[in-house]
């Protein structure tokens, strides 16, 4: 610990933004709450409660009490309008120096990755020495919204100046106005849920039920094993009644998974393959990742797990089914590899967010598909297969669950720790798909 918590910069030389060289943005560590299936363990916790807990756990792990962090960026995909400054409000609930600035980020399920990537860039440019990126989501805390008709009446009532106007406004109320609009994962332009979308993609790529169930099973088993050997001891801080992700089923079997009925794409009849077992449930939770310059970390005796090398965002036109809703990472990876001069096989670990088992498998298949790589990615040759033994080795969202904005932080911290253990120069690839046909991918390098 530094003796002087007020010390804010440790930059040596000229910042890149001022003409100096780029520097590394390093991942120091992370923290998250256990993830909880929605309407369960965290039913009474708000987004702010969860994010504050994740931040406070991070502060405790790295002794950041009273520290002024350069910037905190996080977000929630589903949040109350009153939480317009959710991240700042959460920071004010922590023991960080209250002059730590914070801002909101939102790009659906890739929110955490965007928050972390954007902060890493600022660090590399010399604009920040330290940062915390993350995200939170709680379906249990989701706002119930008045439907448009009711809202129009309420707004009119609000604007009414005279008693008569008010009475007139009130008389417009109809019982139907009381039906709230519940939050969902439906794409606004298609009216299809993410699962329905993925069901088309899974079907189009011919991903079998068994392949999906096997991936789901591996996720559960890998994560349970990781918990048992203490891998998550310095990545997760318990919250409320939970000490582990409660979606995790260590005792799951292929037989149990095979017995589940299709949950998405039921219109495909016999060819429907996506079940509640090989799809991620709605989940509540929060995560946070501590980033910094090397100097900043060294000055505080903080570990340096990995460099945050680069990240790339892509979007696909999914609206009329031209591309699968969750296929954007397939595109983003191609661009990122090209920029970094790497091949898909250069990585020691692959962290591909398991929105659905079908998402991961379709993405892998697409990278191996010559026509897709040529026609869609504009490549001469397919990106090729990956070593499946390096994929999601400590489990992923199928086991942990997926509180939308919190997943990027979970993956980044997990991967950084794995790369650090693997050794300096080891490479990891992150791929996170998101609603709206978007996705963010990133490369981390072990230290």
């Amino acid at each position: 610990m530094t003796e002087n918590p007020q010390q804010q910069t440790s930059s040596t030389g000229t910042a890149a933004i001022a003409g100096g060289p780029l520097r590394q943005a390093v991942v120091i560590g992370g923290n998250r709450t256990p993830f909880a299936r929605s309407h369960g363990a965290y039913a009474s916790a708000s987004n702010k409660d969860l994010l504050t807990a994740a931040l406070n756990g991070l502060v405790a792990r790295f002794g950041l009490q009273g520290e002024r962090i350069g910037e905190v960026a996080a977000g929630a995909v589903i949040k109350h309008s009153r939480d317009f400054n959710l991240t700042r409000e959460s920071v004010l609930g922590t023991v960080l120096d209250h002059s730590t600035p914070a801002h909101e980020v939102q790009i659906a399920c890739a929110t955490g990755m965007e928050a972390i990537g954007g902060l890493a860039n600022k660090i590399r440019l010399g604009q920040l020495d330290s940062a915390i990126g993350g995200g939170v989501d709680s379906i249990s805390d989701a706002p119930l919204v008045f439907n448009d008709a009711a809202r129009s009446v309420l707004m009119e009532l609000n604007r009414a100046r005279t008693v008569q106007d008010r009475i007139k406004a009130v008389l417009r109320f109809r019982p139907g106005h009381l039906a709230p609009e519940a939050p969902g994962t439906e794409e606004p332009r298609t009216g299809l849920s993410m699962g329905e979308h993925q069901a088309r993609t899974t079907h189009r790529w011919g991903i079998t039920r068994q392949a999906q169930d096997e991936l789901a099973l591996a996720s559960h088993h890998h994560m349970a094993a990781a918990y048992d050997r203490g891998f998550f001891d310095d990545l997760v801080t318990p919250f409320g009644t939970l000490t582990r992700d409660n979606n995790l089923r260590a005792d799951s079997t292929l037989e149990k998974l095979a017995s589940l009925k299709p949950a998405f794409g039921r219109d495909l009849g016999e060819e429907a393959t996506m079940t509640a077992g090989n799809s991620t449930p709605l989940t509540d939770g929060a995560s946070a990742v501590l980033l910094g310059s090397e100097d900043w970390a060294a000055a505080r005796g903080l570990p340096v797990l990995a460099d945050f090398v680069d990240f790339e965002t892509a979007a696909v036109d999914f609206v009329d089914g031209q591309e699968g809703l969750l296929m954007a990472p397939a595109y983003a990876v191609a661009r990122l590899l090209q920029r970094q001069g790497l091949t898909l096989q250069d990585f020691d670990y692959y962290e591909i967010h398991e929105a659905f088992a079908g998402t991961v498998l379709a993405t892998l298949k697409a990278w191996e598909d010559e026509e897709f790589c040529r026609e869609r990615l504009g490549l001469d040759a397919p990106l090729g297969p990956i070593d499946r033994a390096r994929l999601n080795v400590n489990g992923s969202s199928l086991a942990a669950g997926h509180p939308f904005a919190a997943t990027g932080g979970r993956i980044t911290a997990t991967l950084a720790k794995m790369l650090h253990k693997k050794g300096p120069g080891s490479l990891g690839l992150v791929s996170v798909c998101a609603a709206g046909g978007q996705g963010i991918v990133a490369i981390l390098r072990g230290r």
Partner: protein, 316 residues
């Protein structure tokens, strides 16, 4: 312009008179063309229309959606059909299809000239069809002596069920092709208020869209969605900016409200040859609701638009 409600009232009274007097309808179409001058589509109406399709966001008031233009011309067509000299009764007419060429952008706040005429009486296995043609002209073009520019023309085909006109041969029912649904790309969940909401914007208060009992009284299985609402939703977010496109929609079975419509959208070709085809069906019954097609066409030049919509700008 005659308000639509008045048209329905006129149609009702005509129907009543017909029934009472056992009068025979005329056997040919009136040759009249109904003209409406200086019709302005206000920005308020445009905003209300946009509110029907919140997922696709606000409109460009300088380039209104095709169905909103149709709404502007629809009362004139209704007026024509509601009169006693129209060969088939308005009430109970079935909307079969629409074909629209949207030549140029239609701006809000600009006086338009709307013309409606009826044409193409034709036999149909279930009765007789008629085409209602609406054209919308804008102000004079840029070239000297160019005259009002054709912005939009649309043809709506209606079926007068059971109407048999003298001299028309009987047409046999074609065997119905088995319907195979394409890949699902979207699903619309239509609440019970869909018809009422669209009626409030379009002025088309045909009772079959408003209340299940009224709809049943008029021979429907229940309250159904406006065909043009379905067309509007199909087009929302898919019309090219700057117009020049043409589109069509062909209705098969009505969409009951509240209800859910499955859609499959496919694209073929590219650039101006790109064709978007839409198939809508009922996932439960497996029956098609409609098919549609959008072709981008050549992008034309936009017409002048007054800077301020405060004072009506008149063509000289």
């Amino acid at each position: 312009m005659t308000p639509l409600a008045a048209s329905y009232r006129a149609a009702l009274s005509t129907a009543a008179r017909d029934a009472l007097l056992r009068r025979r309808r005329p056997q040919s179409l009136p040759a009249r063309t109904l003209l409406v001058h200086d019709h302005v589509i206000g920005e308020d109406l445009a905003a209300a229309y946009a509110g029907l399709f919140p997922a696709t966001g606000p409109l460009d008031p300088g380039d209104l959606p095709s169905v909103l233009v149709h709404i502007a011309g629809f009362p004139a067509a209704m007026d024509l059909m509601a009169q006693a000299d129209f060969p088939m009764p308005l009430l109970g007419m079935v909307h079969l299809e629409n074909r629209v060429r949207h030549h140029r952008p239609v701006p809000a706040g600009v006086p338009l000239e709307v013309a409606a005429s009826a044409t193409g009486l034709a036999p149909h296995p279930a009765g007789t069809t008629v085409d209602l043609v609406i054209t919308v002209h804008g102000p004079d073009g840029d070239q000297p002596g160019e005259g009002p520019v054709l912005l939009w023309e649309g043809t709506s085909t209606y079926l007068g069920r059971g109407v048999r006109l003298a001299g028309h041969p009987r047409v046999d029912r074609r065997p119905r092709e088995a319907f195979a649904a394409p890949e699902l790309t979207a699903r619309w969940r239509l609440p019970a208020s869909t018809g009422r909401d669209y009626a409030a914007v379009s002025g088309d208060y045909n009772p079959i869209h408003l209340h299940p009992l009224a709809a049943r009284a008029l021979g429907q299985k229940g309250m159904i969605a406006h065909g043009m609402y379905l067309a509007g939703r199909m087009l929302a977010g898919r019309e090219p900016a700057g117009a020049g496109h043409s589109w069509s929609i062909s209705f098969a079975t009505p969409v009951l409200l509240p209800g859910s419509v499955s859609l499959g959208v496919t694209h073929s070709g590219a650039g101006t040859a790109r064709v978007t085809e839409v198939t809508a069906w009922n996932a439960r019954s497996g029956k098609p609701h409609f098919t549609g097609r959008i072709e981008p066409g050549e992008r034309p030049t936009a017409i002048r638009r007054p800077r301020s919509s405060g004072r009506p700008w008149r063509p000289s």
